[in-house]
Subunit: 313 residues, 2 copies
Amino acid sequence: MTSWEEFYACHLPPSDFEDNRQLLKQFCENHLKNKNQNIVLITSGGTIAPLEHNTVRFVDNFSAGNRGSASAEFFLDRGYAVIFLFRTKSLEPFTRHFSGQQFLDMLEINDREHTENPSINVKPDSVDILLPILRKYKEAQESNRLLYINFTSVSDYLWLLRAACEALASFEKRALLFLAAAVSDFYVPQDDMPKHKIQSSGAPKISLQLVPKILKPLVGNWVPQAFVVSFKLETDDSLLIAKSRESLMKYNHKLVIANILQTRRNRVVFVTPTSSEEIILTKEQALSGLEIEEPIVCEIIKRHEEFQATVAQ
Amino acid sequence: MTSWEEFYACHLPPSDFEDNRQLLKQFCENHLKNKNQNIVLITSGGTIAPLEHNTVRFVDNFSAGNRGSASAEFFLDRGYAVIFLFRTKSLEPFTRHFSGQQFLDMLEINDREHTENPSINVKPDSVDILLPILRKYKEAQESNRLLYINFTSVSDYLWLLRAACEALASFEKRALLFLAAAVSDFYVPQDDMPKHKIQSSGAPKISLQLVPKILKPLVGNWVPQAFVVSFKLETDDSLLIAKSRESLMKYNHKLVIANILQTRRNRVVFVTPTSSEEIILTKEQALSGLEIEEPIVCEIIKRHEEFQATVAQ
């Protein structure tokens, strides 16, 4: 048994797994009918590795979900159907522009005439900001081109990722995988996990196991015809390109988007086995409100189209 | 040097610490003028313990911030000034009732007349739910009775907690501390922390240190006259009361609110050195929309008033 088969054998699927599998299946079947419809699976946010069965503590990965949630909007703009597989409570497309308090601050109560039925409206000076986002949100809902599926633990994530791939496989080369989630590298095996909250009387040592590298079966078996893009986040610039190439060699997918934690909002490198190309957001572009995910998504779509054309020959 | 003095000596304050200290000071000075004004410091959400200097991975504590954010609303209702010291992105009073998507779904675009200036309003059937919450939110803003201060790491939290206590001390017995945050018990000392992201080539062992028990100096030195309430969360019911009593003996504060992870939404126990009293939310109450934080806050305020009366004699 490979390490990933063993992982699935040892970890139960999340409790709502069957519902999500059906949602994924139906969403894909709907869009498969349209022979020109491209589809992207975006994974976003970090996974957790619980330290206890009754989880009070867990190891988490830093990721707010900026990259994935922003990119989802740009893929929708360009006509893709989007499966957004995201960490519960991480950023989501459209709503990411506003925190809860900002929403409440945008609202005003309209009871000038002391009516019994006051209304609530968005303050005129907030309409300009909210309106284009709200229109795009409603358009995505109405065209049924956006499916939200959420996870918390790394094992939830791996179960849902495989189910999403099974649903996507029939799209063949029209399927794009944009694997931006920050997946745990380590976990505590179920058998090593204490049942109850670790008591704070001593200073414990936690022994971690490696999470199996799921890109291997994903690229090799689950969606062998799809265009797969993975992300590499490092804090040490000197390792970045070498580690990206290593990943491409090992998993045989199309593209690694490499970035450094501190500069990830304004610089990424597109790494293939034979090329590396930077995308940089200038200060002026950032100040004008441009987000780096827009040129990233543009460039990926260009490459996805070229890939589809090549395969078709 | 005690363990907590050592912790402050080894950990720098968060970068925006001085701004927050000023906010805390001004907020307290404003309300101190009113001799009848009670004030509560609510801590809410979990703290993280980073595993790396350039933090990609961290140990986190399970806590959405339900207890703290709901209680803040009930303390405001009862006239308290509220310092809400919360984990970034955990639940906040008022906005906790709505996720981002729910907000967008409540809105409709009003461009019936093809005007160039469309307006946005809350759908009539959502006004009923939103209106009472929005009114209370605006009232809290306008009366300046709610101060938000946020933290992420356990060291941020400890710096801000001490600054809040310093600002609160002059309220003497009118100050209430409601320490609901899920504070890390363990951390990785700065010297043991790798500078860069831990590479996933091996399975690392993480050695954790105990975070100093801050209730000791808090009750003993920082706010010795205040009414201090701490929380005890366990997953094993058989330890609950004994561990709560142990905590009261050790730190000499007034009250521990004890709860079990799985049943914390409908049962808590108020534990003092000589008594223990359950607060239970019945199924009917829960279905009618009552939250357990309402009777919890009521009971705490009752005890805070009795405490103030006793001390005054």
